[in-house]
């Protein structure tokens, strides 16, 4: 592992890779700071631009956007009391209270240091756990992959923010969209409505950019083209000794909890930050301070969301299974560059694997170096009116979609999915299950059919393979587990607390 990390560090520190890592974390922080532009929309937007790049540099940049966004979102949460990202919703509660007490600088510094420590631990975790999982996963066949994907989808449904029937309907809709085009087994064309352009299927980019990018702009415009501005001064960026002491244990707990929740399909930064906030409030000797500027309420969740961002790379890199919508796009990026993430990645492309892992540590160092000195720039950026920003977002979304296949039809699809996403979000549907099911859909169908062929038309392939059977049983247990009910309740409480704090 150490040899791999050293070799990876050499690759990550090559000038080109370092430059793209810097671009990734900078763009990630930028979109994290700006409310209304999420990492899913940004990565969808930038995916077409990475086509000509070296695959390692492209993945390093996209990864940087992901964890950079979790980093940057806290700035907006603390200063404006508007979450820059879903993963920094809970930071609004105590972070903004600290800002109102004149401790914005301390809150920003604690968030940055907590994120850095968690990112560092997360990188070590990826290097350690990935190797073990890959050695085991190399023996996986279609039944195990089918079971893993099914488990992932079940978890995404039960951890989604809306109602369960609506989330299940979104999974089914995502699976349907993945079916459009040619049947992978028979070659038969299906669900194309006689539109020739659909015979090759629906591309991930117009779907994701429409559902997340366009719908986000339309939702933001409902509240007018202006947004709230910063009222507080930032103050000193050096927390007091007392604040460091109060932050140390929550940072450690948040890092560990976030990393573990990042591993779970359907988990990720948002869930990790909610869970960390709930945990810190529970273990605190002064729970009454939460909501009034508690240091632990900033340090814990901020560490947790960054650790989860790192942890969620493990299922993708080792099994080829995306655990959330961003990882689904990351899978799309790998495929666009002719690579298949999974257990063979480390064998066939060790330089790329370790280069990506090492770049995450480099990226976290860059974030720490860049972000605190650049806080003034982010503050200025928050003053850019949305009326100037959204036309540019729309134009870049259109041009980015067109550029992938030089296809106007893809732009029609983008507009269709934009309108669909807008209406679905207005009707309180969570779109993450739809995108994840879309990404996994063709693989899910393929592995299911392959498993049945292995069992000669029976379910023996599932019943006679212990790993597949255990994972399927776990998926069944998840359906009835009270633990998930508990997690959902704590998440709902955290969201409610965040909205109360607004």
């Amino acid at each position: 592992m150490l040899d791999g990390m050293l070799a990876g560090a050499v690759i990550a520190l090559q000038p080109t890779n370092l430059l793209f890592c810097l671009i990734g974390v900078f763009v990630g922080t930028l979109i994290g700071v700006l409310p209304g532009i999420g990492p899913v929309a940004t990565i969808s937007l930038l995916l077409p631009l990475t086509i000509g790049l070296d695959p390692t540099a492209a993945i390093i940049m996209i990864a940087g956007i992901y964890y950079g966004a979790a980093y940057g979102g806290s700035t907006t949460s603390i200063l404006v009391n508007v979450p820059g990202e879903a993963s920094t919703v809970v930071t609004c509660i105590d972070g903004h209270q600290m800002a109102r007490q004149g401790r914005a600088g301390s809150a920003l510094a604690l968030a940055a240091v907590g994120s850095f420590l968690a990112g560092t631990l997360g990188t070590v975790g990826i290097a350690t756990v990935s190797d073990v999982v890959m050695r085991y996963a190399i023996r996986f066949g279609p039944p195990e992959y089918f079971a893993m994907m099914l488990l992932g989808i079940v978890l995404v449904v039960f951890l989604s923010s809306g109602s369960i029937p609506k989330a299940l309907a979104m999974v089914a809709l995502g699976l349907f969209f993945s079916q459009v085009g040619q049947d992978i087994v028979t070659g038969e064309t299906r669900y194309t409505a006689d539109i020739f352009e659909l015979s090759n299927g629906i591309d991930l980019i117009p779907l994701a950019m429409g559902l997340f990018g366009i719908s986000e702009v339309l939702l933001n415009l409902e509240h007018g083209a202006e947004r709230s501005t910063i009222a507080e001064k930032v103050g000193s960026l050096m927390p007091s000794a007392q604040e460091w002491r109060e932050a140390a244990a929550p940072m450690a707990r948040g890092s560990l909890l976030g990393f573990l929740l990042g591993l779970i399909p359907g988990g990720g930064p948002a869930l990790a930050s909610f869970a960390s906030y709930a945990l810190e409030r529970r273990v605190s000797r002064t729970p009454e301070q939460f909501g009034k500027g508690a240091v632990a309420g900033v340090a814990g969740p901020e560490a947790a969301n960054n650790a989860a961002a790192s942890g969620s790379f493990i299922p993708l890199l080792t099994l080829g299974l995306p655990s959330n919508a961003v990882m689904g796009l990351m899978l799309g990026a790998f495929i666009m560059h002719g690579l298949t993430p999974g257990p063979l990645l480390i064998q066939n492309h060790p330089g790329m694997f370790w280069g990506i892992v090492a770049s995450m540590y480099v990226g976290n160092v860059l974030l720490l170096i860049l972000n605190l000195p650049l806080i003034g720039l982010w503050v200025q950026l928050l003053r850019v009116p949305y009326r100037l920003l959204f036309p540019i977002i729309l134009l870049l979304t259109i041009v980015g979609t067109y550029s992938v296949n030089h296809s106007v039809f893809d732009v029609y699809l983008l507009i269709f999915f934009g309108a669909l996403g807008y209406v679905l979000r207005k009707w309180a549907f969570d779109l993450a299950p739809l995108v994840l099911a879309f990404v996994l859909g063709s693989q899910l169908e393929q592995t299911f059919r392959q498993s049945l062929m292995m069992g000669r038309g029976s379910f023996d392939a599932f019943l006679q393979r212990p790993t597949a059977l255990v994972i399927l049983a776990a998926a069944a247990v998840m359906l009835i587990s009270p633990v998930l009910g508990l997690v959902r309740r704590s998440r709902t409480l955290a969201v409610k607390a965040a909205s109360d704090a607004d």
Binding site: L173, F176, E222, I392, L394, L395, V399, S403, V408, Y412
Partner: protein, 158 residues
């Protein structure tokens, strides 16, 4: 069931899901469905259609039984700006390959900046749209070679 319950958001959401799921299942039935042990090309589509119908029915029944739910009108409030954004984007698609990106992009951006608050009489939206269209074309076409049709297709060798 009272009239007040029928205008609840999720009654319509549920009905929408039932209709969409039914349409998906019907179109999948046109293909070979097969069995669980030997699935055909329409197998998954047919069953996801049924799942959507069942989930839609759950949402609809839940909305009819529950209390304190937003109405359809409340959930659709604020949507008036959406057509002003989406329709010009559709027009942009229709004319892109005929009049080229520079003209189509400029017109789209002028509209968006003007509707966003700049107004059509002020020179600022026109200036912003000129700058952003030119910058986007330079970035995507000249720098990244995306193949955007820059000028009108008049058979000229551009």
């Amino acid at each position: 069931v009272t009239a007040a319950r029928l205008v609840r958001r999720d009654v319509w959401t549920g009905a929408f899901l039932v209709a969409v799921g039914g349409a998906i299942a019907a179109s999948a039935a046109a293909h070979q469905i097969g069995s669980l042990a030997r699935p055909g090309s329409g197998f998954l589509g047919f069953h996801v259609g049924l799942v959507i119908v069942v989930m839609g029915a759950c949402v609809l029944i839940g909305a009819l039984r529950g209390s304190d739910m937003p109405s359809l009108a409340q959930s659709l409030a604020g949507m008036r700006r959406a057509p002003a954004m989406l329709v010009p984007m559709l027009v942009f698609c229709l004319v892109l390959e005929r009049i080229g990106f520079l003209l189509a992009g400029f017109a789209l951006m002028w509209w968006l900046f003007a509707v966003a608050g700049g107004g059509f009489r002020s020179p600022r939206p026109a200036l912003y749209s000129l700058l952003t269209t030119a910058a986007t074309w330079l970035l995507f076409d000249r720098l990244l070679g995306s193949g955007l049709p820059g000028l009108p297709s008049l058979g000229l060798p551009f």
